[in-house]
Symmetry: C2
Subunit: 270 residues, 2 copies
């Protein structure tokens, strides 16, 4: 019997009633405090896309990390405030013992053939086969060990690291077992960047993502073509001020397909 | 008696009960369909910031335009799923006759002195005094006539316009009556860009913002220093595909302060 992949194990949800699901944390997805934000986003997206009333594919999701998720069970409550002909709006709340830990809104929609163009360009980076594995946050957080990360720019600032004058980061990353990328997995890949303030300050400081928004550009065919291959993930911050900073990021296929763009605002102490 | 400014008129809300407010649309804020998204965002932000339980200043807001707001009254229902020591999470829903038209999540928080840096740089543009007023969407939508827009790049594609190979746009913009910029006004300024697909296609096509997220970098002192002056607003799209495109934008003060960064996903037919 093939053991279940850790990503699929984390996304297993029990149906408590028509609009409530129960999941649980898993130690292999642990972050510095609570679970990796990317797995929480993936779980919420999975809860929505497997709801019998769901139409279309994910277009946008915003996750608000309201409080730390404790080890153990959590409940997800789903609502559809509005369903249109070709789009659907969702609100999800993840709670533990009645305390809300995460809120989310998501928009799903039907993709149609239209005029198309990609204006953005991927950063230049050697192919992943020419880069050494490692250099990521696997030295401090468990979840990063589930990925094969290869840094073209901005490796994790370990002991003796210096502050960096810029926050740009670019890495190739794939699931270590090359599990095929679906929308939940793409959502998780959008959160693989260790905090930009670590790079700027040259080390670890107290930090937490407050809110994160991801726009899914890839259609199902583009995900099928990607399979479990490396994606090129790049990110930067525009401004750090008064204990908060933004981050904007893109996730590219090896063939120059912009799969997702994603933005977040982060709390820090420095 | 000084007449009330159209922005303040639009933000007038009646208190129906502890967590419910009633507002109404105003013809001067009309967009092609329903009201200008920026004024809806401003109204929701105002509803939250004037709630007696609100703490801190706006850090992030995500608005999902679920359905068109019809002319007339609307009700806003507010909830605080979580309040932390220095941050607070909100969910707001705007409805008309029981139909949800807009959903929003917002994070407010307390700003503290920390290490700070701005990495982004404003686009180069002549000062607003050297640019001619006009060139914006005021030829097709009422709300744009409430602003003084001066285009450095990407004027509205009027009759005879050609498709453009790029979606970059940069304009100076201020409230025509120079009403001082507060957080709701900054949120509205984040949505002044006519759709990027118009620029690429060289004309008007069916379009609508689906979801929009704004990160507020400016603190109150920076807003006070800005007053009613011009801001430099710039935007671009990364990818147009299958009927959807993203937009990323920044709003800068004349003195190079990054006041806000903002992102949206847009539906289009082309």
């Amino acid at each position: 019997m093939t053991p279940i992949h850790p990503f699929d194990r984390a996304l297993r949800l029990d149906v408590l009633d028509a609009d409530t699901r129960r999941g649980r944390t898993h130690p292999e997805w642990a972050n510095m405090v609570g679970p990796f934000g990317g797995i929480t986003t993936a779980i919420l997206l999975r809860a929505i896309e497997t709801h019998p009333g769901c139409i279309g594919e994910p277009l946008a999701v915003t996750i608000n990390f309201a409080g730390p998720v404790a080890d153990g069970d959590f409940d997800i409550r789903l609502r559809t405030p509005r369903t249109n002909r070709s789009s659907q709006h969702w609100i999800a709340e993840l709670s533990q013992g009645g305390d809300v830990k995460t809120t989310a809104t998501a928009v799903f929609g039907i993709r149609r053939d239209t005029w198309a163009d990609t204006e953005a360009r991927p950063p230049s980076a050697p192919p992943p086969e020419q880069l050494a594995p490692g250099g990521g946050p696997e030295i401090v957080v468990a979840w990063a060990r589930l990925y094969d990360m290869r840094f073209a720019e901005g490796a994790f600032p370990g002991p003796g690291a210096q502050p960096s004058p810029a926050s740009e980061i670019a890495l190739w990353v794939r699931d270590r077992a090359q599990r095929p990328v679906d929308y939940p997995a793409l959502a998780a890949l959008c959160d693989v960047f260790y905090p930009r303030v670590f790079q700027r300050r040259g080390g670890v400081v107290p930090v937490g993502t407050i809110s994160m928004t991801t726009y899914f550009h890839a259609d199902q065919q583009e995900l099928d073509a990607l399979g479990g291959d490396f994606v090129l993930a790049c990110a930067h911050a525009d401004r750090f001020t008064h204990g908060y900073s933004d981050q904007s990021a893109q996730v590219w296929s090896r063939h120059g397909v912009l799969l997702a763009s994603t933005h977040q605002i982060v709390y820090f102490k420095a």
